[in-house]
Symmetry: C2
Subunit: 205 residues, 2 copies
Amino acid sequence: MNAGSTKDRILDTAELLLARRGLDATSLRNITSAAGVNLAAVNYHFRSKDELILAVFTRLVEPMTARRLALLDALAPDASLEDVLTCLFRPALEMAKHKALVARMYVERPDLFQRIFETHLQPSAHRFASAFGQRLPELTAMELGWRMHFLVGLTIHTLAAEPILRAISGDPAPLDNMDTVLAKLVAFGAGGLRARATTRELAHE
Amino acid sequence: MNAGSTKDRILDTAELLLARRGLDATSLRNITSAAGVNLAAVNYHFRSKDELILAVFTRLVEPMTARRLALLDALAPDASLEDVLTCLFRPALEMAKHKALVARMYVERPDLFQRIFETHLQPSAHRFASAFGQRLPELTAMELGWRMHFLVGLTIHTLAAEPILRAISGDPAPLDNMDTVLAKLVAFGAGGLRARATTRELAHE
DNA sequence: GTATCATTGAAGCGAACGTATGAACGCGGG
DNA sequence: CCCGCGTTCATACGTTCGCTTCAATGATAC
C-alpha cells in the first residue's frame, strides 16, 4: 500500500493510526494489516509495541527540535521576545499534521513521553530558557520556568484541541492558516511572559 | 472497602483508578475488585463502561462549573480582568486532585469530553466570554475566542502536567500551594489577554 | 548451483477485555 | 408467611489483544 521497506511502511502506518485512534486503541494488527505487512514484522523490526511507538514519536520530534534550534541560532542578538517565541512555536505548528499523536503520547503514555522529553526536548528547553531570560531579566529562574510551562500548555493544547478550538473561535478550519495561529500564539505568549512577576518568590526559596 | 452504596463505591473507585491508570487501561474488573463489588454491578447500575466514565466525570465537573458561576456572580461590576480570571482558574485548581482524570478524558475520549463540554462547560464559557469582552472591548469576538482557548490550554496543561512542570520550574511540589499557582496563572493569562490584537481579522471575516 | 542469513508468512498461545445471563439474596407490604 | 422486586452473585460467551513459533522466501556470497 505504501512504498518503501517493511520497516518504513510500519512506521508510516503506525504514525497515522496511533494518532487517529489512540495508542491503546490501535492494535498491532490494525497497523500491520493497514500497512500490508505481516504481524510478526513489528516484533521483528521493533522489539515490542512500546518501542514501535517510541520510534514513531522520535522520528517526529527530532526534526522539530532541530528546526527550533536552527531558527534560534539564526536569530539576531537583538531579536525581540516575539521573535524567540516564533522560533519556539513555528516548528511545533509545522507538525500540526501530527498534533493528535503528540497529545496522545503526552497523556496516554507519560512514561514514554518523559523519555522523549529528556532526550530530545529538554536540551532545547534550556536554550530557550536562556533566550527568554536575556529578554526578561526581571524574572527569577523559577518564575520563568513556570511561564515556559505555560508556553508548553499553549502549544500542546493548540495542537490537540482543534475541534473545541473550532467551537470556541468560530473559525471553521482554525489550524489551516498557520501564520494566523502563529501570530495569535506569539501575541498571547508574549503578553503572558511580560506580565509582572508574582511576588512570594523570595519567601519560597 | 468503602462506605456507601454499591453504586457510590463504584463511582468512588472508578474515579480513583481511571485517573491513576487511564481509561482504557483500567478494566471494569480492576474497578469492581478494588471496590469490593461484583463485576456485573457496573452493567446493572450504569449501562456500560462509557456511561460509568461519563457519570464519574459529570460528578466532578458539575460542582466546578457551579462554583465558577457563583464566583462570577459574586463579582463587583467594576472587578478587574484578574478577578474574572480568578473565578475561572480557582475552581479548576480546586479539582487538582482530579487533574489526571481531566487530562485523560480530554485526550483519550474526546467524544465523551465533548458531551460534557457541551452540556456543562459551554454555557459557563459564554458567561465568561461576556465578562472578558466587557473588559477587553478592543478584541473581536473571534480574537477573544482564540484567547479563551489559550486559557483552556493553560488550565488543562497546568492540571495535567505536574511532573514535567516540576522539572521545568524546579518546584518540588508545584501544585501544593494553590494560591501560588493561581497567582501565576492569573498573571500569565491576564498578560496574554491584554496583548494587542493581531490584525488580519477583517480580511478573515 | 548452493549455502547463508536476514526477512516475511500463517497460525496459534494464553490472557484479558466488555458484556450478558439466570439464579440467589434481602426485605418491605399483603 | 410469602410474594415481588430491586439488587447482587457466580459464571460464561465471544472477541481481541500482544507476542511467539517455525516454516517459507529471497537476495547475496562463494
